[in-house]
């Protein structure tokens, strides 16, 4: 499957991936309105972690072994058999945070008002994820993953 990768050498921590993601999930298309008028403000599913000169744009990797799916208390998390994406059924999510605790990247984001977890779906309605499209430095690439990473047979029987 295609995923987003960060070129750490050229990611300079501008956080525009977060801005693009937030705007993608806002009700409005207007950036200023998304930040200044929309309440509650939409949440970015992408996070930039920084430490000195190192900065990393981090989002769900849709891991083959998906510890979040296995830890989910309600069954809200599952792998979409068609796309192989790890998806959350917001109807069944209660925002407990168990997935956050289980995730090696700590990417599940809690929407505290809606009491739901939100996560990256690689912008399924777009050709290129918003964060990649919005990166001014081409530090994000969207392409197939390393072929020798075997998808665990995991979750096939799930759906």
């Amino acid at each position: 499957m295609k995923k987003v990768y960060v070129k750490e050498q050229v990611c300079m921590g501008c956080h525009l991936c977060e801005v693009s993601c937030l705007l993608k999930h806002a009700r409005t298309d207007d950036l200023v309105k998304a930040y200044k008028k929309e309440l509650p403000r939409a949440l970015s599913r992408v996070r930039v972690d920084e430490n000195g000169i190192v900065s990393l744009s981090v989002r769900c990797e849709h891991c083959a072994d998906a510890p979040c799916i296995r830890a989910c208390l309600t069954g809200a998390l599952s792998r979409d058999p068609a796309t192989s994406l790890v998806m959350v059924d917001e109807e069944r999510c209660i925002g407990c945070g168990t997935c956050s605790l289980a995730c090696p990247l700590g990417v599940p984001k809690l929407d505290k008002l809606q009491k739901k977890m939100v996560k990256c779906d690689l912008c399924q309605d777009k050709e290129i994820p918003a964060c990649v499209a919005g990166c001014p430095n081409e530090a994000l690439v969207y392409m197939e993953e390393e072929p020798d990473v075997k998808r665990a047979v995991a979750d096939v029987s799930r759906n």
Partner: protein, 447 residues
């Protein structure tokens, strides 16, 4: 009975462990017969959601752990509403309460836990409940619907189940008092500090918490109905209902006398195999490997049940798989306060180092021994706690960056490069991530 008519994979129990096993078996074997026996009449549902069910109208469909066509789609026979009463390892049979005898080739015991009800006067009165399964929530719901005035409840036990039922009862307008025997609520999963944050939100929700005491008697003034409880110091607390939430014990009835090795729960090895060949166990009934203490113990939590069940299922279907181990890990959000904890909550002796960062309702704590994580507790902002949990699970030596683990700006980039690189997947052409050295600089000014 001939071998052909034996159930290839028989699973007793129908919750996280059972589903984990069934899914694993079906990944490897699409045709072998799989049957699930459960004394509950429902398809697998999320047990933690029974508090949502009690709190407000919440349809069973939303509680289902898997889609409603799960059993059919995976060709799993279901025997619901039937209790398994006796496992016979020598005969490869399980006897059901109805008298029916099932023959199997591989058996999984995923019978879960049952609430501990103390031998105390009044526990059989009308208005006394436990809170472990959907029928318990339905019983309390029925009681509340019949009750005319605003009822008062005493919850005996301030653990996960106690606080969980308390939140639901508060949402139903019930005045709740929690009675906790130890010094602080949620003492098996939270440290003093995070428990104090929890106690604070409980108090804001008008819940009374009495610690350091226990109930000795449930009182009744009117024929068979609850009128209050008496504490160990003689104090009487009037109430209309009581929820007993002092803990769960493994449900071992079906294996009693079978010869299967039992300590506090069913003893299993790293393959989730019991002392009996071809019989596996997982979930709340099993004592499985805990990677923090380096030994087996009961860790009755949902994710470990699923994980253990999955490993059992893979082994049952012939793929030798070792259980990496689980530990206690919990994510709480009672009254909208997010807390997570995992591993040890308090260092057992002074060979452990504790690092804490707390301010403005944010609390981050890690416990370290010999450079490796042994426990964590985060409150307020729990995002990224998963990075820390997985460093603990993977046994990464954190000595050189331990202070960063509790820092406000902690993230993946706080870890050594080799560690964060190992956590990120790589693209098909890994070279795209490497930018060639820049060409010699040319001065370009304007156009």
């Amino acid at each position: 009975m001939s071998v052909e008519t034996k159930i290839q994979y028989l699973i007793i129990g129908n919750s996280a462990g059972s589903i984990g096993a069934a899914e694993a078996i079906r990944e490897l074997d699409r045709v072998g017969t799989v049957a699930i026996v459960s004394d509950e009449p429902y398809p697998a549902y999320s047990r933690p959601l029974i508090s949502e069910y009690l709190a407000h109208p919440y349809p069973l469909e939303k509680m289902l752990y898997r889609k409603s066509d799960f059993y059919e789609k995976n060709s799993i026979q279901v025997i619901f509403g039937e209790k398994a009463i006796a496992v016979n390892p020598a005969e490869y049979t399980v006897k059901l309460q109805s008298g029916q005898v099932l023959h199997w080739q591989k058996l999984l015991l995923a019978t879960g836990g049952a609430p501990i009800v103390p031998d105390m006067e009044g526990v059989n009165l009308k208005g006394v409940f436990t809170f472990n399964k959907l029928d318990d929530a339905k019983a309390i719901d029925g009681f509340l619907s019949e009750h005319r005035q605003n009822p008062r409840a005493v919850v005996i036990g301030g653990g996960l189940i106690g606080v969980s039922v308390t939140e639901a009862l508060v949402k139903r307008g019930v005045a709740v008092t929690i009675v906790e025997m130890k010094d602080w609520i949620l003492n098996t999963i939270l440290d003093v500090e995070t428990a104090a944050l929890e106690a604070d939100v409980l108090s804001k929700a008008d819940v009374s918490v009495i610690t350091g005491h226990t109930a000795v008697k449930i009182n009744s003034y009117f024929a068979g109905e609850v009128s209050g409880i008496t504490l160990d110091d003689g104090r009487a607390l009037p109430c209309d209902m009581v929820v007993i939430a002092i803990g769960v014990r493994p449900r071992l009835d079906a294996v009693a006398g079978s010869g299967i090795k039992i300590n506090r729960g069913i003893v299993v090895d790293r393959h989730m195999l019991t002392s009996s060949p071809d019989i596996y166990a997982c979930g709340d009934v099993a004592e499985a490997y805990d990677f923090v203490i380096g030994a087996s113990r009961l860790t009755p939590i949902w994710p470990n049940a699923y994980e253990g069940g999955r490993v059992a299922g893979l082994n049952m279907a012939g793929k030798t798989t070792e259980y990496a181990g689980g530990t206690v890990m919990n994510a709480l959000k009672y009254f909208s306060l997010n807390i997570v904890s995992a591993g040890l909550v308090a260092p057992p002796d002074n060979t452990y180092e504790t690092i804490i960062n707390r301010h403005n309702g944010i609390y981050r704590k890690v416990i370290i021994k010999n450079g490796k994580l042994a426990g964590l507790a985060f409150a307020g902002d729990i995002e990224k706690s998963g990075i820390v949990y997985n460093l603990m699970k993977d046994g990464v030596n954190v000595e050189n960056f331990k202070k960063a683990l509790v820092a406000d700006d902690f993230g993946l980039a706080s870890l050594p490069e080799s560690v964060w690189r190992s956590k990120l997947s790589r693209p098909a052409a890994a070279s795209v991530l490497i930018t060639p050295a820049a060409p010699p600089e040319e001065a370009v000014i304007g156009d």
